[in-house]
Subunit: 414 residues, 2 copies
């Protein structure tokens, strides 16, 4: 099947999801979950081919682990689908309702976006997960996964389609682009006649490439250069575990802290504590002159360090003379993801939350909470770091649009 | 000033608008309105230069009229600013507020988008209007108007900046790109580091070019291939004035009807009525074979006709055998703008509203109501025909984003 045929079939099938009842959608999700578990051997066989190719290519152990499927991991995928089936349907909610003086009754109602394209790297679990979120929110999905996972993705998609067809849905509501060349990806990003939204999931390079080349609207997700700012009025006993948690609880994720900003009034007290606690976790610090004056052992921070999402056991340290300087430093270097202030001063907290330009701004808590599950959304397709459509964790509701339904009795415009 | 400098100054000044109080913003809008009226002679002088160039170039009368400013038109611009000052501030609204089991308190709060670029044609009134909507919603705006209005736009922008500075705002919160080459426009569309959103206002060609070339998120506005569907259960006495209003009340606008779809059961009764009423307004009909069988005088409709936004005294006519066929015809040819069904049957009305894919779906009313003022939004920056971020009329609220403000007491992720 050509890319164009895939896109046309996707668009042609979106009407089915617009009219599907919640109950039908949930039954289909459960059928897909069952199909995954029942057909796990087939999926594992396909995954074994990908794993062999990956080893031949010399893929690093971390990537191989992301690629690997096991019976347990397939069961976890199925569980994910069952959990999404239990979430409230985001479609058909009356968001607003008002009457105009001329008698027109206007309702703003949530509707599916239409056809969503997901471009992602070689993580086969995304295949099932992205499908389930899109499907529950009434969207047809076209998946374009990384070439290293192609056999696994084909097998998973085929199984999901089996589950869908058994529940009365056309298989075209989830499709995989089987060809994995760069040309196909470029061509895919031009299909604005058929695809309403592209969501790239993966590293900064992938996301930049999609943003720069897509003619379809894109939601940028994921890059997180997150800061913990320890204010002069911070409770340092609160600051320390928050910093350690945000930096080290999981290092390769977008909501992990990459930089410590510390007010000059507390730097002498806080930096040695932070150094000791982070050293235990093998974190390397890179600081400015004022930080080095207190911690002579640490590396010099360069301009580049402050702009960097390390995703590693490294933390940059910046000292500031004021809250204003902290805000302005963060607004210069951050990626619009998650930022935190540690302070007991409510005015400082409020000013920080108002003026820091990021999706999620924390007072006295770890940035690691920026997550669809932690926010209670029951799942997430990604964390938006841009300001259009949705910002921060994107759950089912963020995968919807709206329409206005206007009811009159013969009104014409004068 | 170079384009890059303009963009950098815009981004640098957005913090001022994030913290500006409603009262300050309103005062500045009133000062700008006063400045427009006080400096009208200067603006008219600049406009005279544009008008002369336009006449020399042989611009058509319609475009010259759009370009022309008069004292009255400048007063109308000023009134527009005063009206926007009176609207509620869309910033700082708590959209949602919830508590997580771990004690984190999460507020979702409306915030400005940041820096908005408006690319528009030679309509100097857009300069003041777009500025006012962006400013009130806390956004810095960079204007890129058509070259034919450049002197008028420069004069209006300078006057607005005077009003802003007199109210304590930096003039950089509204800037005009004075260079009007295509190269500058192309370069502008790449400034995603500084500009958060581009809104093109103008004809289909301009909008397509921005969508295809921009690396900045774009909201598509304006193109409207709108249909009036007269159902088998229509009250034809309601249908006729709605059709005539939607087609002829103003022909050059995006919410005007371009196509009549009529059910076979009522075509014999309705088409002659429609023909007679529209003939009086000099509307040319172009129909399919079944329509021509009833109205032999009319022109044959081609495939192209059904896909066309005429913006003229022309209406295509399509007969259908069923409501389903009407919906599928409309979903094939429409541009996602405004669609109407005329019916007394509530099931048909509901099905049409649910299944027709458009920003505004009407029952028994003219499509001409799709408008920020008619919806009670107090103004509009445009009508979005896409599904991301905002759909339909975009007022002040649609020019906002949101952030999550999370307050804890030392929470870390386990």
């Amino acid at each position: 099947m050509t890319l164009l045929e895939i896109c046309q079939k996707a668009k042609a099938s979106r009407g089915v999801l617009v009219t599907a009842e919640t109950e039908q959608k949930n039954k289909a999700l459960l059928a897909c979950a069952d199909a995954l578990v029942q057909n796990y051997e087939e999926i594992l066989k396909a995954n074994a081919v990908d794993m062999e190719h990956g080893k031949e290519k010399g893929m690093p152990a971390g990537l191989l682990d992301r690629l690997l499927l096991t019976k347990e991991r397939i069961e976890a995928m199925a569980l994910g689908l069952r959990q999404i089936a239990e979430l409230p349907d985001p479609i058909g909610r009356v968001l607003e309702s008002f009457e105009r003086p001329n008698g027109l009754h206007i309702e703003k109602v949530s509707v599916p976006i239409g056809v969503i394209g997901i471009i992602y790297e070689s993580r086969p679990n995304v295949t099932a997960d992205a499908f389930a979120l899109c499907f529950k929110s009434g969207n047809v999905v076209i998946l374009k996964g990384g070439s290293d996972a192609i056999e696994s993705n084909k097998a998973i998609t085929a199984v999901l389609q089996k589950g869908l067809v058994s529940s009365g849905f056309p298989k075209d509501v989830v499709q995989l682009i089987a060809e994995t060349s760069r040309e196909v990806t470029t061509e895919f990003m031009k299909q604005k006649e058929y695809v309403d939204l592209l969501i790239p999931r993966g590293g900064a390079g992938l996301i930049r490439s999609v943003v720069e080349n897509s003619q379809i609207p894109v939601i940028e997700t994921g890059t997180g250069n997150c800061h913990i700012y320890v204010d002069k009025d911070a409770d340092l006993q609160k600051a320390l575990p928050i910093l350690v948690n945000a930096k080290t609880q999981r290092i390769g994720v977008c909501n992990a802290a990459e930089s410590l900003v510390v007010h000059k009034d507390v730097k002498d007290a806080f930096l040695p504590m932070a150094y000791a606690a982070l050293k235990e976790k093998n974190v390397e610090l890179r600081g400015d002159a004022a930080a080095k004056a207190i911690l002579p052992d640490i590396v010099d921070a360069t301009e580049e360090d402050y702009g960097k999402e390390y995703l590693d056991l490294i933390l940059s340290v910046k000292t500031v003379d004021s809250l204003e300087e902290a805000i302005s430093h963060i607004n210069r270097y951050n990626t619009g993801h998650s930022e935190a202030i540690i302070t007991e001063n409510p005015d400082a907290a409020q000013k920080f939350q108002k003026e820091v330009d990021a999706a999620c701004v924390y007072v006295n808590a770890s940035t690691r909470f920026t997550d669809g599950f932690e926010f209670g959304f029951g799942g997430e397709i990604g964390i938006s770091t841009q300001k259009m459509h949705a910002r921060g964790p994107m759950g089912l509701r963020e995968l919807t649009s709206y329409k206005y339904c206007i009811t009159g009795n013969g009104q014409v415009r004068g």
